[in-house]
């Protein structure tokens, strides 16, 4: 009895989490414009997406921004994590606090802050403003993921390498980077996902001249649900799923 309640409750919560998503996936293949009734299977809406040149351009923008900002965020985040862990310097606590602040602060505050910065220095809104913003909000995630990895590494490993005659740069190349690589890659994947999904910050720091995918989806969604949008969301869901699964398996790996 108790078990039945437990399992049905769990099923119910999972259903609540997944049914809406599954519905848009199913209806992205439904050959009807408005009705909820199932007509017949079609790829029509996907074909329309492919022929939407504006959408393709926007997707390309998102891909470029995503790859570049995820890469920069990974480099910056890794260096920051290593710095925080290995060195004792004045302001170290402030730096750690700043990283945590950036993670928990509501996105809208960061958006407003960056908008003010750009405005103050007359920095034009467009590719660069979005790239910098995405790098900024992804970097703390990488830093925190890598930091937790370093903390779990046996500190004796670095000492053992030193004891055997390795210099700092040898230690970084041969010990730290190989052992941290799974966390860095996971951080990259999560950063890319965050960049692909961000509406809050991009909404403030973009201009009509350089649009990216999440903003496009947002403006389409404001007009109401549509089968094309179902198809577009399905594609992004698929990409996200792959990225999350990859990140998840990297985080569980000991080394590569």
């Amino acid at each position: 009895m108790n078990r039945t309640i437990k399992y049905s409750y769990q099923t119910l919560v999972y259903a609540f989490l997944y049914i809406p998503i599954i519905v848009i996936i199913i209806f992205s293949f439904n050959d009807t414009l408005r009705s909820l009734l199932w007509q017949s299977f079609t790829f029509k809406w996907y074909q329309e997406l492919i022929h939407d040149t504006d959408l393709l351009k926007v997707s390309w923008h998102s891909l470029v921004v995503g790859v570049l900002s995820a890469t920069f965020a990974s480099i910056l985040g890794t260096l920051t994590a290593i710095g925080l862990h290995r060195y004792r310097f004045p302001g170290r606590k402030t730096m750690h606090g700043l990283i945590l602040f950036l993670i928990i602060v509501p996105d809208i505050v960061l958006a407003v802050a960056l908008l003010m910065l750009y405005n103050f220095f007359n920095f034009p809104l467009g590719f660069w403003s979005i790239f910098v913003a995405h790098t900024s909000f992804c970097m703390p995630f990488v830093a925190v993921m890598v930091l937790s990895r370093i903390k779990n590494l046996d500190s004796e490993l670095v000492e053992a390498a030193k004891d055997l005659g390795a210099s700092d740069s040898t230690i970084l190349r041969q010990i730290l980077l190989p052992l941290l690589l799974p966390a860095i890659l996971a951080g990259w994947l999560i950063s890319f996902t965050l960049s692909l999904d961000d509406v809050m910050i991009s909404f403030f720091v973009s201009s009509p001249a350089f649009q990216i995918l999440p903003l496009k989806i947002y403006s389409m969604a404001r007009l109401g649900a549509s089968p094309e949008l179902n198809a577009l969301c399905t594609i992004i869901l698929a990409i996200t799923l792959v990225l999350i699964l990859a990140a998840h398996s990297f985080m569980r790996k000991k080394s590569i």
């Binding site: 046996d154 000492e159 053992a160 390498a161 030193k162 055997l164 005659g165 390795a166 190989p178 080394s255």
Partner: protein, 363 residues
């Protein structure tokens, strides 16, 4: 005359407000197996880390072959270390782990291969060179750690409680193996442990450390038989300690009263009349007699058996003396006395072989 391998001169180290090491002087001779023995928190690990170069002492000097190395970083010292949890690089196989030190010196890869194979053969792991550390047993990981540490042919090998992660029977095998390896390599070993059995069974000399200070440095036998301090006597083996005043003293002998009986003991430490001293008697030096067996009890103490613990080849007894003092005694089974048998509550006479006790000034 050549300088000893390592000399530590008045080393002090304080962490926060805790004085971890106080004025340590220690000499390590070339080729010996020296053990630093002490309870956890006594400062022995800090001392080892000072030798490895991970910690710089606040004051004092570290000399290697007579040359000052106090401020030399760990990667520049011809000293290597076997870490407590081995610290094998998890992403490298056995071969690459062992080769790490050689590759840091940019040694020719053919030479590396040859030396690594030799090292692995020495620890009997030649067939495991392509395994990752995670796929090795604890004992095998231990041997890789040793091979990796000796590959650079260090002048001194530091071993930080390397046996503590192994189970009991493996620990006993590894003791012999380590001792054997040390002779074969001819490298000086500095071993730290809190396990007195380990220290006694392997070391040429033992340095007893307590509370940041060295209590005694001697051979295993001397440390046990002639402890210089109360701490050493109590930390190594068991000891019965009677605190008493010296009633009479001559150059050769002293008279003390123990449990209201007078005993004449050898005066080995220049005790004088009126000194407060501690008389240390090991449990195995004590004989316990059935009251019926004894006719002359002048140099014996009366007691009551309080506890009997059967240990196989020995029996451990706890005997309560009239003053309430609880005396530990260990009796050996032997063929002369097949009926060695004690009852709780039984009245007995106890004695010890006079001259086997150790006296030290009271602390």
């Amino acid at each position: 005359m050549t300088a000893p391998l390592v000399q530590l001169r008045s080393i002090c180290k304080t962490f926060g407000d805790h004085q971890t090491l106080r004025d340590i002087d220690l000499t390590v001779e070339n080729g010996e197996f020296l053990t630093l023995l002490g309870p956890s928190g006594c400062g022995k690990t800090t001392l080892l880390r000072i030798l490895a170069g991970f910690v710089t002492p606040d004051t004092g000097h570290v000399l290697l072959n007579g040359n000052e190395i106090t401020n030399l970083p760990p990667e520049k010292r011809p000293i290597n270390m076997v870490f407590q949890n081995y610290a094998l690089f998890p992403h490298m196989n056995v071969f690459d782990n062992v080769a790490f030190g050689l590759r840091c010196q940019n040694i020719d890869e053919n030479e590396v291969a040859k030396r690594v194979e030799d090292a692995l053969a020495m620890v009997r792991l030649s067939t495991f060179s392509h395994r990752k550390p995670i796929n090795l047993s604890g004992g095998q990981q231990q041997r890789v750690a040793i091979a990796r540490a000796v590959i650079n042919r260090p002048e001194l090998l530091l071993l930080d409680e390397p046996l503590s992660a192994l189970d009991y029977s493996l620990r006993k095998t590894m003791r012999l193996e380590l001792k054997h390896l040390q002779r074969e390599l001819g490298i000086t070993f500095l071993f730290i442990t809190h396990d007195q059995e380990e220290a006694l069974s392997m070391s040429d000399r033992i340095a007893i450390i307590n509370n940041g200070q060295i209590e005694q440095v001697d051979t295993a036998r001397k440390v046990y038989e002639e402890p210089k301090t109360l701490f050493t006597a109590q930390f190594i083996g068991e000891a019965n300690i009677f605190n008493t005043l010296v009633d009479e003293a001559s150059e050769r002998a002293i008279t003390v009263s123990i449990e209201n009986k007078l005993f004449t003991l050898q005066n080995t430490k220049n005790h004088r009349k009126g000194d407060l001293i501690s008389v240390i008697i090991r449990p195995e030096d004590i004989n316990v007699w059935d009251q019926g067996e004894i006719t002359d009890s002048t140099e014996m103490l009366p007691g009551v058996i309080e506890e009997v613990i059967y240990k196989g080849s020995t029996v451990d007894l706890m005997v309560q003396l009239p003053s309430g003092f609880r005396l530990a005694a260990t009796e050996f089974f032997n063929e002369d006395d097949p009926n060695l048998y004690y009852d709780v509550g039984e009245k007995v006479w106890v004695e010890w072989t006079l001259g086997w006790e150790v006296t030290i000034p009271h602390e």
